[in-house]
Assembly symmetry: C2
Homo-oligomer: 569 residues x 2
């Protein structure tokens, strides 16, 4: 704290920091959030003298003064900082409080600790309200240096570590920043479907969603318990029908009474019904239903094959072409057998779509959005960012500041290739050959953003041959109005494009890339009727967290990572 | 407008309304949002004289003055109101502009229309920038009275109707209200997994997610193209191995040169490799892989059976038991063959979870959240709510006001059953019998909230026999600390409970309801180590939209409804 602050009397200091001197009560709990104490700019000092109830988990605990009292570092997840708590031996069995992971709720009075301690405030306990004990011999994540890899085998407990909790707060902040940004700019949040019968890219490795297997297993069990009728059973039932039919005929011939005939017909109908039921059941076969040698999807839940979405883009375009500015933010899926630190089978994507807008607008929106998120973290998560800088990536805060403040470089794909070729001539070695027409590899992207420019780079106007059919064909007929945002640390963060809004052109492109027209008729309708210039992009949300935190493996920045062979919980 | 307003000079009126007299430019487009004109309290009058570019879709258009000009009602989805646009015949072929659904972008000057018209402002076009035409003879949703049911067969175009666009704005508002509410109260947004290997309720109809079918189909195709080796092929390969082996032996016996032997051994190894490849390939069988007569899930993507989540609750509890206050907001799935107006196969749920909190806190949170959403709609979506009131449910705005302002009634399940029994004695007929122990049917719930109290009712402490194992057992050992929030129009809106935090009790409950312990070991760990009192609830997001708008069918309040037999797009 600066000298001048020291000169101010405490109450003026509080006023200068715009602090009240009462702790904010939690709205739906009888305790206060630890952040509302230690997260204040004064570290909580202004709250001395107040009585509060606090709850949290012990990060470290130790008995002191020959067992007469214990120090507990208590954390409730509301901020990275702990509250120091002092419990006298008369209030509880101290040995039951000090194990890492123990949950305690205590009532006490906030006091300024003796000079020379790091804390600005501590809690002197007056009453121990409750304790959730931990047997330190059995606790799977005791206080030792645990690797992130080890923690992946304990997904259900890893949020109790400083790192995973900090990532959870950063992830939360980025998610709310996303909503805030698009809401401020009048975008509507649209929930695109998870279950889909369209394949956006036309080439995805998609997860199939079905009830056929479980239905067939149910049937199999049922048939074992209650076997289908044999041919003999059915023949017997046929016999009964024929006998009953004969009986009816005879009664009619004998001009029997109406009631007699009615009763006999009823018997006949019952026999017929029984026969048809048996015949129906005899057709039941274990296994997945087939027709003409192929799986009969008309019997699946949606009466056709269904998959998990790989992108909400095509569907959200239907809303952009109706209400102008929209975005999705939801889970997407890839059934790729990738075991890299950059791929997940389930990940979250943000996909805005803007009508009445072109590629320039798209780039402007992407740049503004990324900058907004960086500023948001600097503004609202600085304590967590300081933790990440200290523990994982000392440059991460500077990186956020740089991206937030510097205009992104914008170069065409052709310029990008020229720069890469120049680098090769200068002696730079790439594993992948550089020439016009290639899809830029990660090494190329990272060279541009990390070495050549050392700031975010937007590359636009890619060769049409390496991009999707829905991207707008440029007048050169060789490139499409696509753009990728490259950032230091992760490379490609965003991919987007202006969409082809001309009916004849997009129809031609679909055929050109070898896709059938029929599944895209609804998509073509958007161009047939009231077509509009529009564009959009997709941001891989976990990539953004990797970029922000400097964490190396994408499996550590999503609460429940899914990848080949693993889907715990 | 009140008399006094009329007396103010125009500029003071603007100041009183806190309006500027320039149109806000759209950040990522060269046009302005129509809402920024007609959505102003002055209807746009204060903007007269300004030049703007506007874009949107024609709601209605007509040629006037013997074809010398056209009136277009233009809507861009930013608000329910249209902008009236006047185009002179010299600027465009008017007949190509007037069809419903046509997309037009125009530059023009805002003018106050002649006295006696409904509009406060209109746009005199100076230039038609672009037109996305519509052939009215082919347009699937022309301007006639279209039923919501009809529109369900045109999901890709239905957002262009007033109703679906209004619902989209209301849905967006409720989603952002949800995030705002929980963020304001220091909850962290946690992304629980969509793909799961846990079954929350222990009894769900779940969708299975697999790559086994597509992998087996891929293999089948590959085997047709490239048939597996026959026994003869393998025998021949074996023969080669044996010959090569013999050759090596002979060379060694003949003490041939080292290079000759090495070359011969290399040949032998090649032959062995070829044999083992053929043997491997000969094992490939078309069809889904099986082991001991059962599907071999170790070969599935996640090496075990995987499903779509029915609730994120159990998983989000792992975060609540680490960082205290959390919520999920994501898609959930039920593979139920329900064809009702209240069920979807894919729907969105909001599930907060609060540590250091009990059932009272849970009810307080639920009530505050619902009230917050009602106030949000009244505050930010009144124009859309007025449209819903006019078109679908005249009571919907009063209902929001009532729920926002009146304290919810809170009664125990036992009291609720007594009130229902009293009603039966008074002559009320229910289809389902009323007695202590039943699960309240929808008719019972709606009687309580719509007839008996005519306001929201929270029923708490349900018999344990009808509730899930994770709900906290009350001291009476007969009931659990569950609560349901019932509201007029939809009945149950929220279901929640305090969770059982006592290890021994929840272990007993799992066994009591006949579930195996093993899949819940991770869930038990939350009680084994540092257990904490906690609670939570789930709100069906589409139910909330039905409640707010008065729309009858849940398929109309989600952009892409999924139900048995249908998953369009």
């Amino acid at each position: 704290m600066a000298e001048t602050d020291q000169a101010l009397p405490p109450s003026d200091q509080l006023a200068a920091m715009n602090l009240t001197d009462t702790v904010e009560k939690h709205a739906f709990s009888d305790r206060v959030l630890i952040r509302s104490i230690v997260g204040r700019p004064d570290g909580g000092a202004g709250l001395a003298g107040q009585r509060v109830r606090a709850g949290g988990w012990v990060k470290t605990g130790r008995e002191q003064g020959k067992g007469t009292f214990a120090f507990l570092e208590l954390n409730d997840g509301s901020c990275p900082a702990n509250l120091q708590v002092i419990v006298d031996a008369g209030l509880a069995v101290l040995s039951k409080l000090v194990a890492t992971g123990t949950c305690v709720v205590v009532d006490g009075i906030l006091k300024v600790p003796p000079e020379g301690t790091r804390q600005k405030i501590e809690l002197r306990v007056e009453k121990v309200v409750s304790v959730g004990e931990v047997d330190p011999a059995k606790y799977p994540i005791p206080k030792t240096k645990l690797t992130l890899e080890f923690l992946r085998d304990h997904l259900h407990l890893r949020a109790r570590t400083n790192t995973i909790a900090a990532i959870a707060r950063i992830r939360n902040a980025l998610a709310f920043a996303t909503h805030s940004f698009f809401q401020e700019h009048n975008f509507l949040y649209v929930h695109t479907p998870i279950l889909t019968t369209s394949d956006c890219e036309g080439a995805g490795e998609m997860f199939q969603v079905t009830t056929l297997i479980s239905e067939s297993e149910k049937l199999e069990k049922e048939l074992i318990k209650n076997p289908p009728p044999s041919e003999v059973d059915i023949e017997a039932a046929r016999q009964v029908v024929s006998e009953r039919g004969e009986a009816v005929k005879q009664l009619k011939a004998a001009k029997a009474s109406k009631s007699e005939i009615t009763a006999s017909v009823a018997e006949l109908n019952k026999a017929k019904e029984n026969l048809s039921k048996l015949e129906e059941r005899s057709k039941l076969k274990p296994g997945i239903p087939k027709k003409d040698g192929k799986i009969d999807y008309t019997q699946d839940f949606f009466a056709r094959q269904a998959f998990l979405t790989v992108s909400g883009q095509l569907q959200v375009e239907t809303y952009a072409c109706a209400v102008s500015n929209v975005y999705t933010f939801g889970p997407t899926f890839r059934a790729e057998h990738s075991h890299t630190s950059r791929h997940l089978a389930e990940f979250w994507m943000v996909e805005p779509e803007i009508a009445f807008a072109d590629l320039q607008d798209d780039m402007n929106c992407a740049e503004a959005y990324v900058k907004y998120m960086c500023n948001w973290l600097l503004d609202k998560c600085l304590d967590d960012m300081l933790f990440m800088a200290k523990s994982y990536d000392k440059g991460c805060i500077d990186r956020l500041r740089m991206v937030a403040s510097i205009p992104f470089v914008r170069i065409s794909y052709t310029e990008a290739v020229e720069l890469l070729e120049e680098a090769v001539r200068g002696g730079k070695k790439f594993e992948n050959e550089v020439k016009w027409g290639i899809d830029l590899a990660s090494e190329h992207e990272r060279y541009l953003t990390e070495v050549k420019f050392q700031k975010p780079v937007i590359v636009y106007n890619y060769p049409k041959g390496i991009k999707a059919f829905y991207m707008r064909l440029n007048d050169d007929l060789k490139t499409v109005a696509a753009m990728d945002v490259l950032v230091p640390k992760v490379g490609e963060l965003i991919g987007g494009s202006q969409r082809e809004e001309r009916y004849e052109v997009i129809r031609e492109r679909i055929l050109e890339v070898g896709l059938p027209l029929e599944p895209y008729e609804w998509y073509l309708d958007l161009r047939r009727y009231g077509t509009v210039k529009h564009c959009g992009f997709g941001l891989g949300f976990e990539r953004m967290i990797l970029f922000a935190t400097g964490i190396e493996n994408i499996r550590d920045v999503i609460p429940f990572p899914r990848y080949p062979g693993r889907a715990d919980l």
